[in-house]
């Protein structure tokens, strides 16, 4: 008698109910989606890597020469019969423009975020939030066009020369990354618990002291993430930069001389080369550098995030 009910119970518990079946089904679907995405990402990285490495394997370019060479002219071979594929001007250009735009954008972004979040939350929510979201949505070609018709002539008027160069690029990128950095900084400030502020105020700190000594300190990992995120965006931006930088693959000897970045050389060059040729492979190598740098930026963001959580 007893054993029979136990058996029944066991049967009931072991029977796959509808809910259990549904759960298995759901899990399968999401796992498949996940695997698909992983496969795509791996494929992209693999593809870029295999193409980018060809410069060094089939065209026998020295990796060190590639990274430190100062002249970029894949169509020409130098006195030793080696192709001129020195990527240093573009690497320097990319880093310079990224760092400069981040340096200019950070104080503005944090200032705006502080205003939105700490000083006037009502106005912040009503005006600045929608404005930032709007700015994020503007396509980069529009930024590039404005840069071309406003920033470049202004630079030309002030500094002479053509007006194309790192400075103009920095100005355009500054405006482009500002909304992203601002809204991420605002999120970072928002995530500082209210009781931190209350504790500080209750100890007799003024609002500025509270912002400066407590809120910004506590939000530092988030703010750093925001800045690095902006840098990643600046580093990867192609179109707008290409429109204002001048696209001369030369070492930038001043901020107002025409130069180029990894992305600008890629966008201008990739349509004009034949697959499998050295010229084409060299561009893929630039793409590989770009990809690796993006991965590094991602890694930095993750590291900061982890450190922030440990605190």
């Amino acid at each position: 008698m007893k054993t029979k009910t136990t058996q029944q119970l066991e049967q009931q518990l072991k029977r796959h109910s509808k809910a259990a079946k549904l759960e298995i089904w759901g899990r399968t679907v999401s796992l498949t989606a996940l695997l698909l995405i992983v496969a795509v990402v791996v494929a992209i990285i693999g593809f870029v890597a295999s193409k980018g490495i060809a410069t060094f394997t089939s065209n026998h370019v020295n990796l060190w020469d590639f990274l430190t060479g100062k002249s970029w002219n894949p169509n020409i071979t130098d006195a030793n019969g080696k192709p001129e594929v020195g990527a240093l001007p573009m690497i320097v250009g990319s880093f310079l423009i990224t760092i400069l735009s981040a340096i200019v954008a950070t104080p503005f972004a944090i200032g705006t975020a502080v205003f939105m979040n700490e000083i006037s939350p009502n106005k912040g929510a009503k005006i600045l939030q929608p404005v930032t979201e709007l700015l994020v949505g503007i396509p980069s070609v529009v930024y590039g066009f404005i840069g071309l018709s406003v920033v470049v002539p202004t630079t030309r008027a002030i500094f002479g020369g053509s007006g194309f160069g790192i400075l103009s690029g920095t100005c355009v990128l500054f405006v482009m990354i500002l909304p992203t950095v601002t809204s991420m900084s605002a999120d970072a400030l928002k995530s500082v618990p209210r009781y931190y502020r209350e504790a500080s105020l209750a100890l007799g700190a003024t609002q500025w002291q509270t912002i400066y000594k407590v809120v910004l300190r506590a939000a530092t990992p988030g703010l750093m993430t925001a800045v690095v995120f902006g840098m990643a965006r600046a580093f990867g931006e192609a179109l707008a930069v290409q429109m204002v930088i001048g696209n001369a693959a030369l070492m930038p000897n001043s901020l107002v001389s025409p130069s180029s970045t990894l992305t600008s050389v890629l966008t201008t060059g990739i349509g004009n080369t034949v697959m499998g040729s050295l010229q084409n492979n060299a561009l893929w190598s630039l793409a590989l550098v770009l990809l690796l740098m993006s991965l590094v930026f991602n890694l930095i963001i993750r590291l900061i995030g982890r450190k922030g959580r440990l605190q």
Partner: protein, 274 residues
Amino acid sequence: MFINNDVTKATTMQERHVVQPHEAGHPIILSTEDLHVFYGKKEALFEGDLQFGSNQITALIGPSGSGKSTYLRSLNRMNDRIATVTGKIMYRGVDINQPGIDVYEMRRRVGMVFQRPNPFAKSIYDNIAFALRLRGTTDKYALDEVVETSLKQAALWDQVKDDLNKSALALSGGQAQRLCIARAIAVKPDILLLDEPASALDPVSTSQLEDTLLDLKQHYTIIIVTHNMQQAARISEYTAFFNQGRVLEYDTTSQIFTNPQVQVTSDYVSGNFG
């Protein structure tokens, strides 16, 4: 008209019963007169007329949402940007609820500890030195001394004296709360406001905290919000009972707990409330 059968009781009990403290040696240090608090248009405190004797512990009790925190936070103007507070808050003869008051200076004299232990993500030392540094104290010896005395007064010194440079976030809940007390008393305030400081603590930490408060009474006037009736009975001299935004009864703690004059208080302290 009473729709109550127990007419005798209903008529003998009062609607409201307030006896302000009047003990020799404990002059009134803080009092509120006709205090009203509005959150937007909603009135959350209808009248808070209480007086507090110096070096005494006063407990504020009452059901959830009755306005205890609202009242307490008004006392050091923590409600400034959140609510409208009208009426007078007399601190040693000065109305601190008037526009000309420097709230930052005032909060140095009227400190506050919150329900949830909220140490900053800094070292133990830096937490306690925070308020002094804000006021420009940089002298290492002066800071060292304040850190030590504050931690001793908060009964935390022996546990953390070797870890002063460790993060305050590594402390247990009870330790963190005592750190917050140490941080609040580092600027030597006159009055210490505590909003349910023990509600997140285990019984042992709670009783340690109560001992600490009893010690601190020598130096500070303490006003504490608590949901724990035994706690109020154990540590306070006076108790105010809040209900629906009003102080219904205020008297010595023993009166409130053994001989309440208002029906609602009686129900509340005997656990028959609601």
